[in-house]
Symmetry: C2
Subunit: 585 residues, 2 copies
């Protein structure tokens, strides 16, 4: 390819609103352009990178017996109503009316469309297990698109769905895909990525993993153990908080005028936040209040509450708070109206003694609250069913690892893939069945497997760049070799550079030649912005010695002079060795 | 691939509503499934065919220096308002509101999005010519989706756009793409396709071609000359209608009570339809009446009227007819209100003598109307500007060829591609400029080039099938070889078939093995439905002779027995020779 014709201008200035290095460099290097909020087009350079990512992804999906399909982007409202997700997706789902005023949606994911296929095509246990995948556009009306291709409203995703006759079969296949994902990410040049346990969503199955690219700019908070390699999204990570068991003191009700926060309460009572029970009040989509309690120094993770109550939850309205029998700022377990609400209690509350908590009475709190003694033991069996004890707290740096007790580290990540155990949620929801060996109808057990194709490119640039531009791994770089030609106005240089370009291209090397009459500084700056791993420079000076200079974008070793007649073979060897590094996984 | 695991059931019965053979076979063979009107999903077999079509298409686009991009499916209303097409596309364009109640559209084509890129990325004549292409989903809310993948509301298209500094440069590139298209269609196995001149749309450029697959089931009417190979869409085809020039008789006004059609008029006056001038009344989108006249035996093509008046036209309302001074059923040129309307007159009217036509007076017609004598010569210069003379008639079988006078043939086609001269319509409309050699701003001249990727598969099946299923050309067949295994219950047969399957696959042959315990008839029926070109059959009988049977889906020669140890190499040779047939173009 000739740079003189390449569509995509390089830009010297840092574009406005580009906070992440990847966002900035992809705009400056002409990899992409923004059309509107969360909607981008890929220019030729970006497209070449994404095509290579897609190709490697398909190879790995085919290697685990995946069958490629193409499901449509649009669907009827009725399809999504079969599982109730037409309602629960809310505003994230883009909706439109067709010319006949029929309600349509733009699929944000494809569980419903794939089960639509499975329920006509899969009829017998003999056909299972089976996996279908596609590389397709997804639409999600994100409230806050950000970071260029990191969080888009229209993006390219590889999504895959598997169907099984048993949990064991799914688990075995799940592990295969897990390995395929590790291979895929390594083959595309990802370095610092981890697989972490994650929340697997409402009504989902029993286990799921996210693949996270570790990056300080990431949106997700991760908890990892430096010793045993335990790692989890903060939404799922659990920690056995060791709390002191002291003598239970007697419950006391104290007057706390205008005290409405944990911070104010600790000051008022001269205690630490660890000695309090904090209330956070949610409600289900049907409006049932959910009063949750966690130790005062910790945060409640709403997704964990959701999983325990088995329903989506949102922040409670004033009415819900009243309905629960709670008083905002003075909410505690005792005195709640258990006929009207759920109570979700974190393990830290159960294991602690003598906590301060709200009295459900304006300007009053209790001290020396003990969960079992003062609350739980006094409930009848019906009331006990409304109280759920579990893990709803966010883990923190320094907490003990649940596996090995080592002190946990906190880090940030960009989610680049995920694999989910879905169970029979969708097959049951859409009445998708097969006949087992005994001729009996069964619901297939499903797994699903996503990779954010367009997100992976900026995620890789986040971990692989310097202050001049991206340092792209060979397998996803737009070209293998960037040929800079200095003083092209000298006709012999122009002639020789053309010869070299054609010769290398004929050898099967992907070469981008800078055939513009730009100054060296400008050529090198653009080459840095493109991030192509190998760079050769032909100048009057090197030509006088019958050489070109070979440089590496990552500066792994010092530039070397290579004889003109040898450069083709040197590059072929270097490229081959470089691919080996990524593919030997 | 193992048929036991292949997603996609074969169906014995002809599905309802499937009129075209391709539609029927693609459903019966499990190539695709319908989700809703005009919305289909590709199952693995169909996806493999489409992937191969896409790959060949990209190769040909790259060969003419195309640069692949990926523009988004969605766009803002504002982008489409820049050219006015947000309005003119009407209901064919799917529209939606995002969560912030911003008006969005699903792009039905990408001229506007590509010029959006060009106007920031192309700044200098040095960058031109340049071509960008993509393989991307398009959305068009067709009022009548039909024929499975033939006319969809969501479909995959390859669209390409070129930018040039001069008409000559565009013309030269246009011819290159024309040749690339011919190569592409031949390489995908198209046989009976033609390139025809076509209407190139409102305000479009000066020339355009459609590639049409000749098929009796096609939607488009084509006019072709068996002698000089002239061919055109009926919307564009022109014919020099030879009409008798007789002595001009004197104009006569006759009473024609209740005569409102050409048919009634000819009976009433005992003349032929060729001796009448027929009026068809349109109006522009702004509501200006357009009264068109054509010889009574011919049909008016509205797209030709549109091109002559340079505005979209629709059927006239009653108010428009009144405004033009016309009387429905008695409309003629004389007496129209030329201040309020346009008059478009077909050449056949100008060249004919003594026609019967309306008198713009209820129940009256003129006879012996002569265009020049009775109408045109009597207009002043201002009025003459409102009268447009041109070709607006549909050509018919038997008309003389405009190039060689041979009698034209009528045939039908499925449009599989098109190439358009766009001129500067979009670059001017969106203020996309570059600086020429003199530093002066210029609008790039554009061409655009489309291929209906998902439509091509059924179009090929339309021309290539028998009554048992598709006969797919090797380059787009889902697999190269279909291996039928009879009496697989005999363990030696099962063992040998597995060995053979693995051996052939290792030789790089794409093999589909029928590893189900189906009877021969059922296996052969499914193989016929899949349309894979080479078929080998392993049975106890052939195995006893150490052979397999080699059959051809198109029955080009009789089945042959081939030694088991030779079949791999025989297939490799046959496959190689077969590809050569398609690729030597």
């Amino acid at each position: 390819m000739r740079m003189s014709k390449l569509v995509g201008r390089t830009i010297k200035e840092t574009p406005r609103d580009s906070e992440l290095p990847s966002h900035k460099f992809m705009l400056r290097g002409g990899f992409m352009r923004q059309y509107s909020a969360g909607i981008y087009g890929l220019l030729p350079l970006g497209m070449r990178c994404v095509s290579k990512i897609e190709k490697i992804c398909k190879e790995e999906m085919n290697a685990v017996e995946g069958q490629e399909v193409r499901m449509p982007c649009s669907a009827t409202r009725e399809l999504w109503e079969e599982t109730g997700r037409y309602q629960t997706f809310g505003k994230d789902m883009m909706k439109f009316q067709d010319r006949h005023e029929k309600q349509m949606v733009l699929n944000p994911t494809h569980e419903e469309p794939v089960v639509y296929l499975a329920r006509t095509e899969i009829t017998s246990y003999r056909q299972l297990p089976v996996m279908m995948y596609q590389v397709q556009t997804k639409f999600r009306d994100e409230p806050r698109p950000r970071g260029g291709l990191i969080r888009l409203r229209e993006f390219t995703m590889k999504d895959a769905y598997s169907f099984h006759t048993s949990e064991e079969d799914l688990k075995q296949y799940y592990d295969q895909v897990f390995n395929a994902y590790n291979r895929f990410f390594k083959r595309t040049g990802c370095k610092n990525f981890v697989s972490v346990m994650s929340d697997n969503g409402l009504f989902g199955g029993r286990y799921s993993h996210e693949f996270q690219m570790l990056a300080p700019t990431g949106e997700d908070k991760l908890i990892t153990c430096p010793k045993c390699k335990y790692s989890a999204n903060e939404e799922i990570s659990t920690s056995p908080f060791v709390t002191k068991k002291s003598v239970e003191l007697s419950l006391d009700k104290v007057h706390t005028p205008n005290i409405k926060t944990i911070d104010a309460l600790t000051k008022c009572l001269s205690i630490s936040a660890e000695q309090t029970a904090k209330a956070v009040i949610f409600q289900t989509l049907e409006g049932i209040p959910v009063v949750s309690f966690v130790r005062g120094d910790l945060e409640v993770i709403d997704k964990k509450v959701r999983t325990l109550v088995k329903s989506e939850v949102v922040t409670a309205t004033h009415d819900s708070i009243v309905k629960a029998g709670a008083i905002a700022g003075s909410t505690g377990p005792m005195g709640l109206n258990l006929n009207n609400c759920f109570v979700v209690v974190d393990y830290t509350i159960v294991k602690s003694n003598n906590l301060a908590t709200g009295a459900n009475e304006k300007d009053y709190h209790f001290t020396n609250f003990n969960f079992e003694r003062d609350f739980y033991s006094k409930l009848n069996e019906v009331e006990k069913k409304k109280v759920i004890i579990g893990d709803i707290a966010a883990a923190r740096e320094g907490d003990p690892c649940p596996q090995c007790n080592e002190s946990l580290k906190e880090t940030r990540g960009i989610e680049i893939g995920n694999i989910f155990h879905l169970g029979t949620k969708y097959s049951e929801g859409m009445e998708c069945t097969y006949l087992d060996q005994n001729g009996k109808k069964q619901y297939p057990i499903m797994g699903c497997y996503g990779i954010g194709i367009t997100r992976l490119l900026p995620a890789i640039i986040e971990e692989s760049h310097d202050d001049r531009g991206p340092i792209l791994p060979l397998p996803i770089a737009p070209y293998e070799v960037h040929l800079c030609v200095l003083n092209r106005k000298e006709s012999i240089i122009q002639e020789k550079s053309e010869e070299l370009y054609i010769k290398l291209t004929k050898q099967g090397i992907e070469v981008l030649i800078d055939d513009r009459d730009e100054k060296p500084g400008s050529q090198f700056a653009d080459a840095d912005l493109f991030g192509i791993p190998f760079r050769i420079i032909l100048s009057p000076k090197t030509f006088a010695e019958g050489c070109v200079e070979l440089k590496y974008r990552d500066n792994r070793i010092e530039p070397r002079k290579i004889k003109l007649e040898e450069i083709g073979n040197v590059l072929l060897t270097e490229i081959k060795d470089e691919y080996k590094k990524y593919n030997n996984v």
